[in-house]
């Protein structure tokens, strides 16, 4: 009817947009200022963050369903989910998981005992340092996976070389970090121990070991990362059970769905152990956390 209406609605629209913009910029600025950077993201932000993975999943599913992505290259998410359920129901996945977990647990325990044991010997005495540290520093230069041929020659193709590879990978991060942690304990606190007339065992128990703990936990996290990696590689060699075997077996039959289920299981295991270490850190380093928060 008149040219007023569109221009009015346009200006309304503009105003509305300006208000929206200023309002949202305040909203965005506030949580950072008030609660610091660690503050939980507002729900809308969390939604935005899952949007792109969901979109990728959708594209993947569409490409699979329409045949653009052939199943021998990569199965569709729906197929993978169904396969995961089947493998779980038939006990195949749980059995493979059990075998792999046992290897990881044995290898990790062995490697941790050796790594931390040697770190104590090297960290707590000069003689121990001279005896243990140079060979450890030399050995750590060896590429872990380059040792596989030797391990096969030494230990055959059974469980032993797999456990040994995990143990070897675990031992070094724990050794290096624990040793550095022990040596890095504040000299002023050691002096305090002297003034308080602490015996050597008491000094080690109350000052040295707790002082080395934060660094040891860093080593623990690193070593768990290496442990899973070593396990995955070790399970590719001549395994007749375990997650690696399940994956390799599936490759023979072009079952990309099973391969992906195996990979996701490995990933979940990694996330799980990382969460356990975080929990451990929160409990063991409570004296630090209070300070930080």
């Amino acid at each position: 009817m008149s040219p007023l209406t569109p221009s009015q609605s346009l200006s309304n629209g503009l105003n509305g947009r300006t208000n929206l913009l200023s309002a949202s910029s305040i909203e965005l600025a506030r949580p950072v200022g008030r609660r610091g950077r660690i503050a939980l993201r507002p729900p809308r932000d969390a939604l935005l963050r899952v949007a792109s993975p969901l979109a990728l999943l959708l594209i993947w599913q569409l490409a699979g369903s329409t045949g653009v992505l052939p199943e021998r290259l990569l199965a569709a998410p729906s197929t993978i989910a169904a396969t995961a359920y089947d493998l779980f129901r038939d006990g195949v996945l749980t059995e493979a998981l059990g075998v792999s977990l046992r290897r990881a647990a044995f290898g990790f325990t062995l490697g941790a005992l050796v790594g931390i044991g040697f770190a104590l010997v090297a960290g707590l005495s000069r003689l121990g340092e001279y005896a243990v540290d140079p060979p450890m520093q030399m050995l750590r230069a060896l590429p872990l996976f380059g040792l596989i041929p030797l391990f096969i020659l030494w230990f055959g193709i059974g469980e032993t070389p797999k456990i040994a590879l995990v143990a070897f990978g675990v031992a070094f991060p724990l050794y290096l970090n624990t040793y550095a942690g022990i040596r890095g304990v504040d000299a002023k606190l050691a002096e305090l121990g002297q003034v308080l007339r602490l015996s050597r065992p008491a000094l080690i128990r109350h000052i040295v070991l707790p002082g080395a703990l934060p660094q040891t936990l860093v080593g623990l996290r690193q070593s768990l990362g290496v442990a899973w990696l070593a396990l995955i590689v070790a399970e590719q060699i001549n395994a007749d059970a375990g997650l690696g075997f399940m994956i390799n077996d599936a490759r023979e039959f072009l079952r990309t769905d099973v391969v992906v289920v195996g990979l996701v299981t490995y990933a979940l295991l990694g996330l799980l152990t990382d969460a356990i270490v975080r929990l451990l850190e929160r409990r063991a380093l409570a004296w630090r956390r209070n300070f930080l928060s």
Partner: protein
């Protein structure tokens, strides 16, 4: 511990103490006696060897020559409180203490410094003044006959420092250890000590008895006079 003499009335005796670092002689034939229950303050320019003397008395510094005799228990409060961060306040106080009931000992010592409520706190949550008070509680719970204070107030703000000064005097009057307070603060030395020493060229070059009742006023005429004497000895024009 080794030389416990029955007739001994000194908290510490030092004769002809020499300490060298490489070819640099820091303490050069130093003589010093701290009486039982006597509060001695040690002044000196930075690098004069004040802290070295204290560390030698604490058994932290091997000596190059002379004699050092500390008959009873020694306790130290350092410039930084040096609380063990992974032990709660109560456990810090009794660390290395061999008594039947450490819990009760910690409670009593913390009560004395007014921090009983912080017994279960982590050291890193304390303020500087609180941490230093815990450090004093840790020193005194050992019932020392010689208390070594290595500039323990220098990192505190002015108001906190006044309070901790009062606390130290209070604790000293109650427990009567011999005290060696190393400080660079002339006023602090004059407010607290029975005797003020000046360390220079590796020896006690000057000493002044401060015969005034405590608590002392900073603007007392005698203190003002002693201050200018000491400042002059320290090479600062009054």
């Amino acid at each position: 511990m080794a030389t416990q003499l029955p007739e001994l009335t000194a908290a510490a005796r030092v004769r002809g103490l020499v300490k060298r670092f490489g070819d640099r002689t820091v303490l050069d034939g130093l003589d010093l006696e701290i009486g039982a229950g006597e509060f001695v303050a040690l002044l000196g320019r930075s690098g004069s060897g004040k802290s070295t003397l204290l560390r030698a008395l604490a058994g932290l510094e091997p000596i190059s020559g002379g004699e050092l005799e500390v008959p009873g228990t020694v306790a130290v409060a350092f410039q930084e409180p040096r609380l063990v961060p992974w032990k709660r306040v109560g456990a810090n106080v009794t660390l290395g203490l061999d008594v039947p009931d450490p819990e009760a000992a910690a409670a009593a010592a913390l009560e004395e410094v007014g921090l009983l409520g912080h017994r279960d706190a982590w050291p890193l949550t304390l303020s500087g003044g609180e941490a230093q008070r815990v450090s004093l509680a840790r020193a005194l719970v050992r019932r020392p006959s010689l208390l070594l204070l290595d500039e323990p107030f220098s990192a505190l703000d002015a108001l906190t420092r006044i309070n901790v000064h009062r606390l130290v005097l209070d604790l000293w009057e109650r427990h009567r250890p011999g005290v060696l307070l190393v400080t660079h603060d002339v006023d602090e030395a004059l407010l607290l000590a029975d005797r003020v020493l000046v360390l220079e060229s590796g020896r006690i070059a000057h000493q002044t008895a401060v015969e005034l009742d405590r608590p002392r006023q900073r603007d007392h005429a005698e203190l003002i006079r002693l201050r200018s004497v000491l400042l002059e000895r320290l090479g600062v024009a009054p």
